[in-house]
Symmetry: C2
Subunit: 322 residues, 2 copies
């Protein structure tokens, strides 16, 4: 059995590759790819012989054709690559080329070479615009009406993948991720980067910038739960999804203030003081379009896990990366 992960140079991709290797039989191989050759994840060193790292620019159809061919069928393909929210807002052409065109070409190549293959696509709750204050969004009670190009491109791929799944071309699973916090690694181009930065950077003794107000509510999920749920996405029987393959993954509603309080509790005053408030209108404008509360009954019914607490989340981060 063989699994492919795109965008695997990123934090989630690296974690996912390590977890897949740790939890699958010795006969399972994993191919990870990114525009820069992805590293072997630290936690996957002992399984390195089952891991292939491929440098590939997925906006090149030749590169996709080489990566995906009938002679090497995958059991599951995880599509994680993409230009993130701030990046796609700042550079429309780049976002649409990577998030829409490259992904669509991958879907078509998969359909042509390994029809019916399982595809786990990391979408985002950014497919939703802002709900009325206090409104709790589920998959059934609110339209996906994105307020960003990033969210629009995610929604378009979801729409295609749902239709491909309905027609039996592919077996898609569209996972709408909350903001993944605390991410190890570096600050990213996502407008949500601050939500990890304000925890991660202080633990590395570095200052972090908070570009939004402390009253801001965010819907987050720990990397621990995200990885668990992305692994689970592969194992859900396709019949269980019903009429749509799109799922709002579980998360946690917290204010930035609560995150800072948890930082203080787990990391102490010295670390808390490294967070500097510096309002940024462009980031705040994007963040304000995200609704901070979701009803994830559907995800629970499909066997996805609830998130851990903010404190446990920070403790896990600190114990692994500091």
């Amino acid at each position: 059995m063989s699994i492919l992960i795109t965008g695997a140079g990123g934090y989630v991709g690296q974690e996912l590759a390590a977890s897949l290797l740790a939890s699958t039989p010795a006969s399972t191989t994993v191919t990870i790819t990114d525009v820069v050759e992805p590293e072997i994840p630290e936690a996957a060193k002992e399984h390195a012989s089952r891991l292939t790292c491929v440098k590939a620019d997925l906006t090149s159809t030749e590169a996709v054709d080489e990566l995906i061919s009938a002679s090497r069928p995958y059991e599951t393909v995880y599509i994680l690559h993409g230009i993130m929210s701030s990046g796609s807002e700042a550079n429309f052409e780049l976002g649409i080329r990577v998030n829409l065109d490259a992904t669509r070409y991958i879907l078509d190549r998969l359909r042509a070479t390994m029809p019916g293959v399982k595809v786990v696509f990391t979408s985002s709750l950014a497919v939703y615009g802002l709900a009325p204050p206090g409104f709790v969004i589920s998959e059934k009670n609110f339209p996906a009406s994105p307020s960003t190009s990033y969210g629009s491109q995610k929604l378009i791929i979801e729409t295609l993948l749902n239709d491909y799944s309905r027609r039996g071309f592919l077996d898609g699973r569209c996972m709408r991720l909350p903001t993944v916090t605390v991410r190890a690694g570096k600050p990213t181009q996502a407008a949500s980067s601050f939500a990890s930065d304000i925890i991660r950077e202080p633990f590395h003794g570095r200052k972090a910038v908070l570009p939004v107000s402390k009253e801001t509510e965010v819907w987050i999920c720990s990397p621990y739960t995200i990885i668990k749920n992305l692994m689970h996405a592969r194992t859900v029987p396709k019949e269980a999804f019903g009429e749509s393959r799109s799922v709002n993954l579980p998360g946690l509603k917290v204010t930035v203030q609560q995150m800072l309080d948890s930082l203080l509790e787990v990391g102490g005053k010295e670390r808390r003081d490294l967070v500097e408030e510096k309002y940024d209108a462009a980031t705040d404008k994007i963040v304000q379009t995200w609704t901070p509360q979701f009803d994830t009954t559907r995800a629970f019914e499909l066997g996805f896990a609830a998130d851990i607490s903010m404190e446990e989340n920070i403790r896990r981060f600190a114990s692994r990366f500091v």
Copy 2:
């Protein structure tokens, strides 16, 4: 001032061209295009000097480039072309090429040559899947989760056009049409074709086939009101749309039985008897995914008109086309 209509060989395009010519100043010109050179609408004969008919295959980028160029800017572009629901379901590749790729290329060409131009896109209520029995859909209370490739392709263009409008690339208006009934002309590849066939054909002394049960509820709109509302779509100030350019147009909920009763009343027993019940599972399967009731408050707030009665609809058809 100049206006372009694609898919103008079809019934709605022909009616729209005639109405635009009749209601605009003598300085306004209208270009109508289709894959076969569209005819001059009967009702537009007196304005023929202001009308240009162009044969163009819009899946050819050269044809689009020729039709849309900076030297001949349009004030409004009506995008009406498309492979209809049954056609897109039967031939996926054709549907995606015409409904998605050709339309997307047109949007990009418009953005490049006449940025900010008004674009009225005829979408469809087929962007929605089936709602729970009795549920009344509005733009705000239910997700667009299409059950057909046709609906998926419409939703993708809406998503792009909304993002293009938000960014100021174009000034889009996505009109989700109910089933247009009574259409003059010929039966079409739409799964909804029967809804016009069962009225039109008997009035021409021909048999018509009813492929669904008489209890089936449908959400329809007369051509009279559709044209009125498509003309209105051009005149709504863009600021009025708020966060989304998508509008569920007004319509009428009727059962097939009520349509047949209206046929009997307006057309008499002889015509009513020309409708033959002949169940077709493939058509019924598509029709059953359409929700028959909508809350169109938003459309009314934007100044769109309510539909006329079924009887008045049939009388108008009979007086013009029989």
